[in-house]
């Protein structure tokens, strides 16, 4: 076996990006091996039967941005990829009122008019403008990161075309249009939404889209453009805005893995990689924890940048400047998950009984001050005593995940800072208190929830790191803040999947275009490697 190059590429980590990268390389005829530490594929795209009979979508829980061209190229529906609609957004308020937004635009208008007739009218136009902005920004996520500091004329031409596209068409005085986009990139979600809307009951639940997975508050500059992501899924043509994957998000990874295997990819589970095999600074393969060496023409990392450079490569093997830049790449997990098995449905005081409001997205975000206070807690190293929560009950739409009459509930929580004041390692001591804070908060709106709980799983950022290998529990493999995006992701000048280590590539969320279940990093990495004949 020594010296024999068995594989064209070996990929560390069978997360959705790693699997997609493998599939595209295999499609081009390459021999690919994917090595996964855990007993199943998916990484944070996972469904697990933590409590017998109940399948928890442990980490991610909805999908909207999985690139339609990837779905088509890899024939994912053939392998079981199915998305069920998540149509309503339900926001209960402490005063007994609620906001329910769904698919009937007139009903939405009436619902919002109860809080502000003006906002109700403007809402539709806002959605339209966002969709338009999203449409024009979409090319950025389907392609390599633009490089504005390049002196390469081809790059500049590309940039010019992008700028032209962003300018829109027709009307004179397009300065204001471009400036509008610039404003969006720099404003806070609250400030941006406040330019359109006046009532807090609408601004608060809408602003949370800008902070998911970030260590920022809704009043923090730089959160407005993240709102756009919410609208990019909307106009995809691929099914609906946000959807629940049938079988939980693990089913997505399973579908990709099945497609990859059908294309000839080899996937080995319970094969943790210890380090990248380096010979004279070039990556020649990997070494597993059990000492086994596997060689390949190229090594691709499907894990986050810190893990890639500081663990798999090792700081001593890196140029000091690069090591410093990697260390500066901010991880800073800020979210947690609470997954529940229920023997019945929650009963919301403001809208009792069963209804469509339970089948969609339930958002606990009653006011801007509430959200800011939740963020303030995190800034100083505490989990939010009254957190923001995004709740779904997948079993109502997908009965396969729970026994009949019983339910699973997935609660995404912010904020839960990785770096507690007492240190990240104190999370095991604070985990249950954190879970209690979540349930207590939910119980303020649905008092019966506590009696319904059969089982509770609490995942802090520390747990996400321990179990899923997400450094500091950051779900996007690194903060999606302006200084860590596009040509700056993960480090300046190395955003096109190639790393400073020869023959080592990166294909996951820590590269452009970033995190979420998009698949673009994996696919674009494969494409780049093939174009550059790296494999």
């Amino acid at each position: 076996m020594n010296g024999v190059r068995k594989y064209d590429a070996v990929i560390v980590g069978a997360g959705h990006n790693g699997l997609i990268c493998a599939a595209y390389l295999a499609k081009a005829g390459r021999k690919v091996l994917v090595l996964e530490r855990r007993h199943q594929v998916g990484g944070a795209t996972t469904t697990e039967e933590i409590y017998p009979g109940f399948k928890y979508t442990c980490c991610s829980y909805v999908v909207s941005l999985l690139r339609p061209w990837i779905i088509r190229d890899l024939e994912l529906p053939k392998y079981g990829y199915e998305i069920l609609p998540l149509e309503e957004t339900f926001t209960p308020f402490p005063d007994g009122r609620f906001l329910l937004r769904g698919t009937d635009p007139e009903a939405n208008r009436r619902a919002m008019a109860a809080f502000s007739p003006r906002d109700a009218e403007v809402y539709k136009r806002f959605g339209q403008e966002m969709a338009e902005l999203g449409r024009l920004v979409k090319p950025v996520i389907d392609d390599l990161a633009p490089d504005p500091v390049s002196r390469n004329p081809k790059e500049l031409l590309k940039l010019a075309r992008l700028a032209k596209g962003l300018r829109g068409q027709g009307a004179p005085n397009e300065d204001t249009w471009l400036v509008g986009n610039l404003k969006m990139m720099t404003m806070s979600a609250v400030d941006f939404l406040s330019e359109w809307f006046e009532c807090e009951q609408l601004i608060a639940p809408m602003s949370v889209s800008g902070i998911i997975g970030t260590f920022l508050g809704v009043r923090s500059p730089g959160t407005a453009y993240v709102l756009l992501h919410h609208y990019m899924g909307e106009i995809d043509g691929s099914y609906r805005a946000w959807g629940l994957p049938k079988g939980g998000t693990g089913a997505i990874a399973d579908a990709i893995a099945a497609s990859a295997r059908a294309l000839g990819v080899e996937i080995r589970l319970e094969a943790p990689v210890d380090h990248v095999l380096l010979e004279k600074g070039t990556a020649r393969g990997v070494v597993l924890e059990n000492g086994e060496e596997i060689r390949a023409k190229a090594v691709i990392s499907g894990v986050d940048p810190h893990r890639t450079f500081l663990k798999l490569v090792g700081e001593k093997n890196l140029d000091p400047e690069i090591a410093q830049q990697v260390k500066r790449f901010k991880m800073r997990g800020s979210s947690g998950k609470v997954n529940l098995a229920l023997d019945g449905l929650p009963e919301f005081t403001c809208l009792p009984g069963y209804g469509n409001h339970l089948r969609g997205d339930i958002t606990i975000a009653p006011s801007i001050d509430y959200l800011e206070r939740a963020y303030d807690d995190a800034k100083y190293g505490r989990f939010s005593r009254q957190p923001f929560m995004d709740v779904v009950i997948p079993s109502l739409t997908d009965p396969t995940v729970a026994p009949p009459g019983k339910h699973t509930m997935s609660i995404f929580v912010q904020y839960a800072p990785y770096n507690l004041k007492e240190g990240a390692a104190d999370w095991p001591n604070q985990r249950e208190a954190f879970g209690d804070a979540v349930i207590d908060t939910l119980a303020e709106y649905a008092p019966n929830i506590k009696e319904r709980i059969l089982h509770r799983q609490v995942l802090s950022p520390w747990d996400l790191e321990q179990i899923y290998g997400l450094t500091e529990g950051n779900i996007f493999h690194g903060e999606l803040s302006l200084e860590q995006l596009a040509f700056l992701r993960p480090i300046a000048g190395w955003s096109r999947y190639k790393t400073p280590v020869d023959k080592l590539w990166m294909c996951a969320s820590g590269t452009h275009p970033g995190g979420g279940i998009m698949g673009a990093p994996g696919a674009l990495c494969a494409r780049t490697m093939l174009e550059k004949r790296a494999v």
Partner: protein
């Protein structure tokens, strides 16, 4: 009977005076209308207690460049520069740190506490030095046209691009990386001394609606640190004096106590103004150095502006977040830790950048900071004539104090805030009470009323990433000419922003001359 003028300038603060001087230099007949009894606005000398004066509400942050001074021959009119005073960073239970304007001296002082930080500081200042020319070129020039029309504008854009490209690729990438960052992250990457991080961060967020953990505040920091300006001998009031002399020499007419209540627009263009007395004065050009909201939403008759443009000004955020406190002392402001040495510039914080963030948190909930961050100047150290012999005045910019305080700025609230400020200062200077002769607190509400300053916002509009350059104050007025022909905005609410510098006024005047 109204005579007619080539241009009317609203406001005799530094921007207004500079605009008038620039226009007059080009041969225009100019009238300045100032609502106050004397010129200067926020930069005017203020005798807040008989015998005790501060040389301006604003602190001189050395933003006025030589280039600007030369443009108006201000040295001829008595303007002198001086060395920037060192900043003493006070420390609870510690000797504090003196940051000299000279990087080498500052690094030496830091080295006493941390070798690591001293080295980093030298590198930091070197980086600032390398990017400074590019930043100064941006600050000193009219914002670029985003969508160039015609060859002239295209060349202009290319020229600016070339200046930027003079930077090494490494620095360009670094600049692109750090500009959107929050100043806490930026400084924490470099420095380990927590009170140093806080002290360097504080000026970047004072008077903004941001805290050190807010994205984009590094840009604020860079814009200040790389402004390339000089400290003015005599403070802001001296700048006002020189500009007044220049204006007078150019035979510009200045009317005081003349508040403009209406900008007269006929057939879609400016024809003059009306003042509080009812008198109407004609001119085809009106250049306002008052804040943009006030100018465009109250002086311009409602209904004149297209709705979309009116909304741009409504959205321009000008929430004041800082208060001014002035103290008259019968003795020196001596810090326990400095053993008798008097400092002119002092920073007082909690000792950690999180303390600064906590101070900011308060305004989100419409409260003032219980432990405000203090930017202090003791101008009598450099200019003893501001107070009786041996006495001193202390000028404190305290952050944060919101304009819209829950419950309003009642007398009790004002008192409580003043007490909070004193509680921050006294532990460092125990003799303070003994020397206290008088004090004055100006909340954002007071600033608004006294200076006709919307929101009490000292920079006429918040300094934030989305309210800079081409977005300041609005896309329709990014290059000083507004959508109303003949009406120009040339105050702190336009590029390059606030602080004691007359750049906006000059650039606005040049826009008038260019048309």
């Amino acid at each position: 009977m109204a005579t007619s003028y080539d241009a009317i300038v609203i406001g005799a603060g530094p921007n207004g005076l500079a605009a008038a001087a620039r226009l007059a230099k080009a041969g225009k007949k100019v009238l300045i209308l100032e609502r106050g009894a004397s010129p200067g606005g926020l930069s005017a000398r203020r005798e807040f207690h008989p015998g005790y004066a501060v040389p301006g509400i604003l602190h001189d942050d050395a933003l006025t460049t030589k280039k600007v001074v030369h443009k108006l021959d201000l040295e001829k009119h008595g303007l002198r520069f001086r060395a920037k005073p060192a900043t003493y960073v006070a420390e609870r239970n510690g000797p504090g740190l003196l940051l000299d304007a000279d990087p080498a001296k500052a690094a030496n002082a830091i080295a006493q506490r941390s070798r690591h930080d001293a080295e980093q500081y030298t590198l930091y200042r070197a980086f600032l030095g390398r990017i400074a020319p590019a930043i100064q070129s941006v600050l000193g020039d009219t914002p670029p046209p985003l969508t160039p029309r015609g060859l002239g504008e295209l060349i202009d854009l290319a020229r600016r691009g070339l200046v930027a490209l003079k930077l090494k690729r490494h620095d360009i990438l670094e600049l692109a990386r750090v500009a959107p960052m929050c100043v806490a992250d930026f400084l924490n990457e470099k420095f380990q001394l927590p009170f140093l991080v806080e002290a360097l961060a504080a000026p970047a967020v004072a008077s903004t609606w941001n805290g050190p953990w807010s994205a984009g505040t590094t840009t604020n920091l860079l814009l200040r640190e790389c402004a390339g300006g000089e400290a003015i001998a005599g403070g802001p009031a001296a700048l006002v004096a020189a500009l007044s002399a220049a204006v007078s020499a150019a035979r510009v007419e200045v009317r005081r106590g003349a508040e403009v209540t209406r900008i007269i627009v006929q057939k879609g263009a400016v024809t003059g103004v009306r003042v509080a007395s009812g008198e109407e004065i004609e001119s085809a050009v009106v250049l306002s150095s008052a804040d943009p909201k006030r100018t465009m939403l109250t002086m311009v008759p409602p209904g004149t502006l297209p709705v979309a443009i009116e909304n741009e000004y409504r959205r321009f955020r000008c929430r004041g977040t800082a208060a001014k406190i002035h103290l008259a002392l019968s003795g020196p402001l001596e810090f326990q830790a400095t053993g008798g040495k008097l400092h002119e510039a002092i920073q007082i914080g909690g000792g950690h950048v999180d303390d600064l963030e906590r101070a900011y948190d308060a305004i989100k909930y419409r409260q003032f900071s219980r432990q405000p961050n203090l930017e202090i100047r003791v101008p009598t150290v450099g200019d003893p004539l501001l107070a009786p012999k041996g006495h001193h005045v202390v000028s404190i910019l305290a952050s944060y104090a919101p304009h819209a305080l829950e419950g309003g700025w009642t007398a009790a609230a004002k008192q409580a805030f003043g007490d909070a400020v004193m509680a921050q200062l006294e532990p460092h200077a125990p003799e303070l009470r003994r020397f206290l002769v008088a004090s004055e607190v100006l909340t954002p509400h007071d600033l608004e009323t006294e200076f006709a300053l919307t929101g009490g916002q000292l920079h006429h509009g918040e300094i934030a990433l989305d309210q800079l350059l081409v977005m300041r104050p609005a896309p329709s007025a990014a290059r000083y000419a507004t959508s109303v022909p003949g009406l120009y905005l040339g105050g702190a609410g336009s590029h390059p922003g606030g602080g004691v510098r007359p750049t906006a006024g000059i650039l606005a005047a040049e826009a008038v001359l260019a048309r």
